[in-house]
């Protein structure tokens, strides 16, 4: 994975840059010590590392604005960082960049149950948003697997999902407003505590823009009343194809579970060895969770198991207690850790139309034999968001390259069947150079023109999302090549009538 060559001029001005940053921040909020900077050299895509020039830890929107103004003045790239849990390298620094971490901005600013929203600083972790309101019977719906650690800032940057977004949607569907600091330090408010904003949907644009359009410092989030109860059923099948068909039938039947999770045999075996969750011996299993009152849960589970029975299940295990539920979820929730016992892994995130599940799983199996690398599949089947885990050995020369090549093939397959490269992890550096598989040069050009509007000098998280080659001119010249070609206001076409 290539990263741009650091700018020697910026490296040479390191002392000057940190001195200026110290002039607007408390002493302990500017980190330049090489040992301390190690903590910021990578995110959860830990195969790639590079310590930044320095790291800053602001505590307020004003401090973020002051930092951005200085970096803008001095032409220094800024890489925003939430909790550093990105699996796509979204927070990977370059040695000539400043890491802007929002971890010290974790306060709840306002809670409003009558209008059903919460306003938080963006460094607050996903789980602690719900933590602040659950005693009053409310929750924040998006629940990425990393929710204990991941920050709302990162959730917004990557438009994070989670197991329960089949019913509740992803971050963008639950985000009402943000306070955002622009690349030049200007502070803007997008949206607010109502259900739609005036004018163009800039909030929808910013959500999922991977920290390239601005630094979100505060967020207004939609909150919901907690359902009365929830209960899963686990169903084991004799093949991936049958399990995939069952998913499609449940959706077609008009039942809306909150989650439909899928695990294949390699994953089931790994989690069994790791946790002893007591999963059935089968090729594939589904965990389907429904919500509501006891009677509603029983009604929905009854319909779901009736559909499952038509697919010759090996076992149907309906939870009858909180204990049962915990045991059913145990294996799924520890699946990534369990797969980690088998070796190093790359976790992919392609999304496909639900109907293509059987075909895609079969092809992934073929690619696994072709490359000679193990793959486990554990994912959100209800919305087609796959998470193939490719097992490799980091100590074996060439193995990572092989795993990445296989990953690229799987993602190409996802696009080929009508899907996309990433459902909830983001492009980052990981899928950057595959963007041309999904988008034409014109499609990407317009997206880059949007970045030109927000960040004309391309200083915010510059080497991400777009293929390096495609963004090279903009990053190197630090002005948009299209700018020169755009007609002046005076050239606008005159009105004819």
């Amino acid at each position: 994975m290539d990263m741009p060559v650091p700018d020697p001029d910026i490296l040479a001005r390191k002392a000057e840059i940190s001195t200026r940053l110290r002039s607007v921040l408390p002493e302990d909020a500017v980190i330049t010590d090489e040992i301390e900077l190690k903590a910021y050299e990578c995110d959860a895509l830990s195969a790639y590392r590079c310590p930044p020039l320095c790291a800053v830890l602001p505590a307020t929107t004003d401090e973020v604005s002051a930092i951005m103004r200085i970096c803008h003045d001095m032409g220094v790239p800024v890489v925003p960082r939430g909790s550093g849990t990105s699996l796509a390298g979204g927070a990977l620094p370059t040695s000539d960049s400043v890491i802007l971490g929002v971890a010290r901005m974790a306060d709840v600013l306002e809670t409003n149950y009558a209008d059903r929203y919460i306003r938080v600083q963006s460094g607050r972790t996903n789980l602690s948003v719900t933590g602040a309101i659950e005693e009053d019977g409310f929750f924040y719906a998006p629940d990425p697997s990393s929710q204990l650690a991941c920050a709302i800032a990162g959730n917004i940057a990557m438009n994070s999902g989670g197991a329960h977004c089949l019913k509740y949607g992803v971050t963008t569907n639950n985000l009402m407003g943000v306070t955002m600091v622009m690349a030049d330090g200007e502070v803007v408010e997008l949206g607010g505590p109502h259900l739609d904003a005036a004018g163009l949907d800039l909030l929808g644009l910013v959500c999922g823009s991977e920290g390239q359009l601005g630094v979100v410092t505060e967020a207004t989030l939609r909150i919901l009343a907690k359902p009365e109860g929830a209960r899963p059923v686990l169903v084991g099948f004799s093949s991936n194809v049958v399990a995939g068909a069952c998913v499609s039938d449940i959706i077609k039947a008009g039942i809306l579970p909150v989650a439909i999770e899928f695990m294949d045999r390699p994953c089931i075996e790994a989690t069994e060895a790791f946790t002893g969750a007591g999963y059935p011996d089968c090729e594939a299993l589904l965990i389907i969770e429904v919500e509501g009152s006891e009677a509603e849960i029983a009604d929905q589970l009854g319909r779901i198991t009736a559909i499952a029975r038509r697919h010759d299940p090996i076992e149907i295990r309906e939870s009858a207690s909180a204990d049962d539920s915990a045991r059913i979820w145990l294996g799924r929730k520890s699946a990534f850790g369990a797969m980690g016992q088998k070796g190093d892994y790359i976790c992919l995130d392609g999304t496909i139309p639900v109907g293509e599940l059987p075909h895609v799983l079969e092809r992934i199996g073929e690619l696994s034999s072709q490359y000679g690398l193990g793959v486990g599949n554990v994912f959100h089947a209800g919305d087609g968001n796959m998470h193939p885990l490719i097992i490799y050995d980091a100590n074996k020369p060439g193995d990572l390259d092989k795993a990445e090549a296989m990953g690229s093939d799987i993602l190409r397959l996802c696009v080929e069947v009508g899907g996309c490269l990433t459902g909830e992890h983001g492009v980052g550096i990981e899928k950057r150079d595959l963007m041309g598989v999904q988008y034409s040069p014109e499609d990407l050009e317009l997206q880059m023109q949007v970045k030109d509007v927000f960040d004309p000098a391309w200083l915010l998280n510059p080497a991400k999302v777009f293929p390096l080659e495609a963004s090279a001119k903009r990053r190197e010249n630090q002005t948009s090549p299209m700018e020169a070609q755009s007609p002046k206001a005076g050239d606008a076409v005159p009105h004819t009538s």
Binding site: R116, G161, L200, A253, S293, Q300, N385, V427
Partner: protein, 382 residues
């Protein structure tokens, strides 16, 4: 001018020498009037419909009614309950002949009552193809439920009223029609009480999919789902937050919400102005107090967070606008003039003027998408 294929659309826009007024079915004449040649989006037909994946890919000029019928045959629907402007903006004879298109619905982000629970049009638009102001064909998003591959231009174009690009194809996430529905109807003495009841219902675990009140104090709360579940939730609500409310049957329930979706309350007075104001629900009572003198009628949808305000006949639009905008601003909300004469709409900001920072961003985005300024110029104020 009418384009019937994407290539024709690209050619028409690329080769245009002056401003274009973009039209789908012509039922949503909203915004500052656009002087320009009409470009009609005549691309119709379904590209793909997979009920088991809940996805529909359709050309932008396809009539909404056709789509709704196709979906209903498979027991599915558009979850965002598109607003029907025909009787609202075009009463009388034109009502019967006008046809809403899916492209118009997406361009206007015209979400109905279920927005409060399911989401808006923009939340169900998985992807689109469009032609920008230079004639360039652009694809964004896809046809899968989760997608964070590159910037979400889909949300930007949805609700941009044809000012950034002309949509040629749309992928939508659809929803299964629930087994049944019911509405709990009650009467409240004040807007305050009505909003409080709606907030209590929406803040309950009973998954309310519609919460609307009118100026006479009638409050409607909708529940949808499996038969037994709707029964249970209706009982729980009417013995709790909605004490004294009566349950109406599924057919009556459907009629109530069709009325909300078609803005029925304002159909018999086509000459008045109607504003759409977005607020925090709890600010709505104070907002209504402030505009009481000019209000002829009002509907409070989205639990009170969306006010449809009809002003008294004979008022000068500009005068009413001042009071409505100032009051909306005071509460951090915003107001759009959805119905008024063309001359009134030409004389003032139909859409809420934005803070300088946002206005500059919006204008700069418009400049990138449509550097010649030929797509619905001025409609949204730029």
């Amino acid at each position: 001018m009418k384009a019937t294929s994407e290539a024709e659309l690209a050619e028409a826009i690329g080769g245009a020498t002056g401003p274009l007024r973009i039209m789908g079915g012509g039922t949503r004449d909203v915004g500052r009037p656009v002087a320009g040649e009409v470009l009609e989006v005549g691309l119709t037909g379904v590209e793909l419909y997979e009920p088991g994946s809940l996805t529909l890919v359709v050309r932008a000029g396809t009539p909404l009614a056709e789509i709704e019928k196709l979906l209903a045959n498979e027991g599915q629907r558009l979850a965002f309950e598109p607003l029907d402007f025909r009787g609202f903006l075009q009463p009388g004879d034109r009502h019967a002949s006008a046809v809403s298109t899916i492209g118009g619905v997406v361009a206007a982000n015209a979400s109905g009552p279920r927005r409060i629970q399911a989401g808006a049009v923009r939340d169900f638009t998985l992807g689109m193809r469009f032609v920008d102001g230079t004639g360039r064909i652009v694809k964004n998003g896809g046809r899968v439920m989760k997608n964070v591959t590159g910037y979400d231009l889909v949300k930007l174009v949805a609700g941009s009223w044809g000012t950034l690009g002309v949509i040629s194809e749309i992928s939508l996430k659809v929803q299964s029609i629930p087994e049944t529905e019911a509405t709990l109807v009650g009467h409240c003495d004040s807007v305050d009480d009505a909003v409080a009841r709606m907030s209590a219902a929406l803040g309950s675990p009973f998954d309310v999919t519609g919460a609307c009140a009118d100026l006479r104090g009638r409050v409607s709360i909708r529940l949808e789902g499996l038969e037994g579940s709707v029964d249970y939730r209706a009982r729980a609500l009417s013995s709790g937050a909605l004490q004294g409310f009566e349950r109406v049957d599924a057919e009556t329930s459907r009629e109530i919400w069709r009325g909300v979706t078609s803005l029925e309350a304002f159909q018999s007075t086509p000459a008045t102005d109607v504003w759409r104001i977005s607020l925090r629900p709890s600010d709505t009572p104070a907002f209504m107090d402030a505009v009481e003198d000019i209000a002829a009628n009002a509907v409070f949808d989205w639990g009170g967070g969306l006010v449809w305000l009809e002003t008294k006949e004979g008022l000068v639009t500009q005068d009413a606008a001042g009071l409505i905008r100032d009051t909306a601003n005071r509460f951090g909300g915003h107001a759009t003039l959805m119905r008024a004469s063309a001359s009134a709409r030409a004389a003032l900001d139909v859409f809420q003027p934005q803070a300088p920072g946002l206005a500059r961003l919006s204008a700069a985005i418009k400049q990138k998408f449509d550097p010649r300024g030929i797509l619905n110029p001025g409609l949204m104020g730029y």
